[in-house]
Symmetry: C2
Subunit: 199 residues, 2 copies
C-alpha cells in the first residue's frame, strides 16, 4: 500500500539509505525537510552536491581536500620527516584535535581485509611507498585502527618499509583494542602517540 | 580551529540541523555521503529539492499532496459525511495504515499553543469550518494529539462546530495520554477510533 505520495516516499527512501537511520527516523527527517523554512532545503541539497563535487583526495597524502594539495601537506610548519599512516580522513581530524602531532599524514582509505575482498592494492599503499623514495622521511607511524584489519595492515606495511631503512612505529595500545579510532578521546590518542614503539 | 575543509564543514552543519542528529552522527552521515557511489549524492539532493518543490497542501483537506486535490479527497470510495481532524500529515498515514477508517480528513498543521505563540488563526481551522457549510458532513472526529495542546484544540474546535448541529466526537483515550500520535501502534489507534465518544 502506498501511504506516502511519491516525492515524499523518495525522500524517506533516501534518508533510509544513510547508516544508522531506520524507517521512523527517515520519516521524521523527511517531514522536517518539508516543514523547513524557505531556502533551507536548497542549502541542504547544495551542501550535499558541492561536498561531493568539490572534495577530492590530496595528491600527496590522499586525505580529503578541496585543493590540489591539502593544507597540512602545504604547511611549512609541519615536520616533513615523519608520516602518520591512518585508515580514514576522520582519523586525521581526531589526531589533529589533540594538537600533539606536527608531522605529515598518509590516508589509506581502508585497511587490508581479505574477508571483505580488500587487498593491499585496493588501499593507498603504493602512494605511501612512492613518498618514501626521496629520503626525507625518517619515521612512519602506523596509526591504523587497533583491530584485526588495522593490525594486519600495519604489519604488512611495516614489512615493506623497514628494508628501506626507515623507522616504523605503531601507536601504543592506549586506544582500546577492538575499537575504532573515531571514538577515542583526545587524551587517549595523545598517550597513544607518546607511547609509540618500534615494530 | 578548522579541522574540516569548507565543503565538508557545510555538509556536517546541514546534517546537524536535522532533529535528533548530533555532531558525531552528522559527521558520520557526511562522510557516508562522500563515500557514496556515483550518482547517489545527486539522487539524495534531488529528492530533497523535489519533495520541497512538488509537495503542497490539498485544497480541500490541507493534507500534503503532489496534486491539486489529494487522492483521499478525490476518492469516491470514502464516506464524505465524516471528517477526521488531525494535527499532522504523518498522523493521517498512521490512521490510514489501520485500514479501519473510511471517511475524509482535515489536517490542521499544528495545535493551538499559546506558550508557543500558536493561536486558532495560525492553523487550518477556517479551512475546516468552510468545509462544513454545505451540510454534507454529519460528524467531525477530533483526532488531535492526546496532550494539552491537542485537547485544547479539540475543545476549541468542538465549541465552534457544535452550534452548526454537527456531531463532534473525540478519539478514545486508547492512545497513551501525554504521548504523540506518531508513535501509537495500529491496534491502539483502531481502538481509539472505535471507542470515540460525544464531546
Amino acid at each position: 500500500m502506498d501511504y506516502y505520495i511519491p516525492p515524499l516516499a523518495r525522500l524517506i527512501e533516501q534518508f533510509e539509505k544513510l547508516p544508522g537511520i531506520g524507517h521512523k527516523t527517515a520519516r521524521r527527517l523527511a517531514f522536517y525537510v518539508l516543514r523547513s523554512p524557505e531556502g533551507e532545503a536548497e542549502k541542504f541539497a547544495d551542501a550535499i552536491l558541492s561536498a561531493k563535487q568539490l572534495i577530492k583526495y590530496c595528491r600527496v597524502c590522499q586525505n580529503i581536500t578541496d585543493t590540489e594539495i591539502c593544507s597540512i601537506c602545504e604547511s611549512d610548519r609541519r615536520d616533513r620527516s615523519i608520516i602518520c599512516v591512518m585508515e580514514n580522513p576522520k582519523d586525521v581530524v581526531s589526531l589533529e584535535k589533540t594538537g600533539e602531532y606536527h608531522g605529515l599524514y598518509h590516508v589509506l582509505h581502508g585497511a587490508i581485509s581479505p574477508m571483505d575482498g580488500v587487498g593491499p592494492e585496493d588501499i593507498k599503499i603504493p602512494e605511501l611507498l612512492s613518498r618514501l623514495k626521496d629520503n626525507t622521511v625518517s619515521e612512519v607511524i602506523m596509526a591504523t585502527n587497533p583491530n584485526i584489519e588495522g593490525e594486519a595492515t600495519a604489519m604488512y606495511i611495516s614489512r615493506l618499509i623497514k628494508p628501506l631503512g626507515i623507522r616504523v612505529t605503531r601507536i601504543a595500545h592506549g586506544v582500546p583494542v577492538g575499537g575504532d579510532l573515531e571514538y577515542a578521546d583526545e587524551v587517549t590518542l595523545s598517550r597513544a602517540i607518546e607511547g609509540r614503539r618500534e615494530m
